[in-house]
């Protein structure tokens, strides 16, 4: 027997995940389940009229392996504000220097940067009212392209699926983004790019998610182990 020390390192196992199930809305979006219980509801509008930055709508659908919309999906997003700062004590950026100029990166008191919503029970469409985030720091001192983090829960999804939303009008920044370019298969990177359009004077970014390849040619979205 080898002389091993008494164990001083205890890493407890993470609690196992279970599906959110078909009635996830009761807990996380009760108004969508059909009743009103809380005075304050968490929802899909991340902004107020005062929130700084370009106001956008992020919308899309989630598809299963047959191409059928996942109408019971529950989606949450997390993002930086327009200055590229997260409303979290772990983000201690005051300013950053780019091209010799220092730009302030202040917290926007009107913007938490987090929201949640379910897909529409008829169409499967989800919608967030938010702002386009600024670029945020990467690990190597460089910069990440503007992006929104997204996690999906639903019946049949055993562990929440994490992905990222990038923007198609940020081609140069996307080409330099370490996470996006770290995806070995260039053809799969496109699954993370939202498409910009305008409707009734509002800026819309469309971001569809494919849980699997579909017979009609949908390509499975890149999901991350974060």
């Amino acid at each position: 027997m080898s002389l091993s020390p008494h164990s001083m390192i205890a890493r407890r196992p993470e609690t196992p995940s279970q599906t959110g199930g078909p009635y996830v809305h009761i807990g996380l979006a009760p108004q969508q389940a059909g009743f009103d219980i809380f005075d304050h509801n968490f929802g899909n509008v991340l902004t107020t009229p005062e929130t700084k930055g370009e106001h956008i709508t992020l919308e899309g659908r989630v598809f299963d392996g047959t191409g059928t919309p996942v109408r019971d999906v529950l989606i949450e997003i997390w993002q930086a504000n327009a200055a590229g700062r997260y409303a979290h004590p772990g983000d201690s950026q005051d300013g950053h220097t780019q091209g010799g100029r220092t730009q302030a990166r202040e917290i926007d008191p009107t913007f938490r940067g987090w929201g949640r919503t379910g897909g529409d029970f008829d169409t499967g469409v989800y919608t967030f009212e938010t702002i386009k985030p600024g670029p945020v720091p990467a690990n190597d001192g460089g910069t990440q392209a503007p992006h929104i983090l997204m996690v999906l829960f639903a019946r049949g999804i055993n562990l929440g699926l994490h992905t990222r939303v990038y923007f198609d009008d940020e081609a140069d920044a996307n080409a330099a983004d370490p996470v996006l370019t770290g995806i070995e298969w260039e053809t799969r990177r496109d699954t993370l790019i939202a498409t910009r359009s305008e409707r009734d004077g509002k800026v819309i970014y469309t971001f569809d998610v494919y849980l699997q390849d579909t017979p009609a040619g949908g390509h499975e979205t890149v999901f991350f182990d974060i």
């Binding site: 996830v24 997260y86 991350f224």
Partner: protein, 250 residues
């Protein structure tokens, strides 16, 4: 609306141990077949985006938000066994996760959800909503009061019954800690037969989803108590530039 609590950890999370979680594709749980990605997950080095996450303030919640017995009561009390569920949210290194948003939802005593898509013939309870929420204290502690949910049939097969369970959603101190799971009740024979419970890789791991009866903490002549602790991912702490060690600070 934005409150950045001082002192929250900022190190990156230790990589997730996927052997602790169900795989995406679990054919015994049939709905997973068409909803499970076929490609491997991609694991970039965590960035500021994943180590941060939403911060919640207790003032955003209402006084009765963690009292499922009263938070939807209209003209009486909900039918069923009165229960208290309590426990601690900690990370993998035993540190309390304070300020975590814990949300819980469940069926009523008859196994029926207050949800427009639930068509089970058991009746809606007019005095029971079935959802609650709370924020953990300095010690990672949470508690709520409810009634015991009933088992109910579901369409995985023609005679499949879910064990009594309460759904839990946890937002910890960072995006990568996000977790949704389910709590079962000690002694329920349906757990071992449930295709969803059994998506967890081993029966020993499944034991960590079973709440333990906690009679010493019963509320006498009022409610029975169950204990359910949760473990979220832990962070590495940065001691020196480019050198990180797991588990600190305490």
């Amino acid at each position: 609306m934005i409150i950045a609590a001082p002192g929250a950890a900022s190190g990156e999370f230790v990589e997730r141990d996927h052997t602790q979680h169900p795989p995406a594709l679990t054919p015994g749980y049939r709905t997973s077949v068409l909803r499970s990605p076929r490609n491997a997950l991609i694991a970039p080095r965590p960035t500021l985006s994943e180590t941060t996450g939403p911060v919640f303030d207790p003032r955003e919640l209402g006084e009765k938000d963690n009292d499922l017995i009263l938070n939807f009561a209209k003209d009486g009390l909900p039918i069923g066994e009165r229960l208290i569920v309590h426990g601690y949210v900690r990370d993998e290194f035993g540190n309390p996760v304070k300020g975590a948003l814990v949300e819980a939802w469940q069926a009523n005593a008859g196994g029926r959800y207050r949800h427009k898509k639930d068509r089970y013939l058991a009746p809606i309870d007019p005095n029971f909503g079935g959802c609650g929420r709370m924020i953990t204290d300095e010690n990672g502690y949470y508690f709520f009061r409810t009634i015991k949910p009933g088992p109910y049939p579901w369409a995985n097969s023609t005679n499949a019954w879910r064990p009594a369970h309460i759904h839990f959603s946890i937002n910890g101190t960072g995006w990568a800690q996000r977790l949704i799971t389910q709590m079962y009740f000690e002694g329920d024979p349906l757990i071992e037969r449930c295709p969803i419970a059994k998506t967890v890789p081993t029966l020993d791991q499944l034991r960590s989803l079973i709440a333990q009866e906690d009679p010493a903490n019963n509320a006498p002549f009022d409610a029975r108590t169950y204990r359910f602790d949760l473990t979220l991912r832990g962070r590495r702490a940065t001691f020196f530039d480019n050198i990180t060690l797991p588990g600190a600070p305490r």
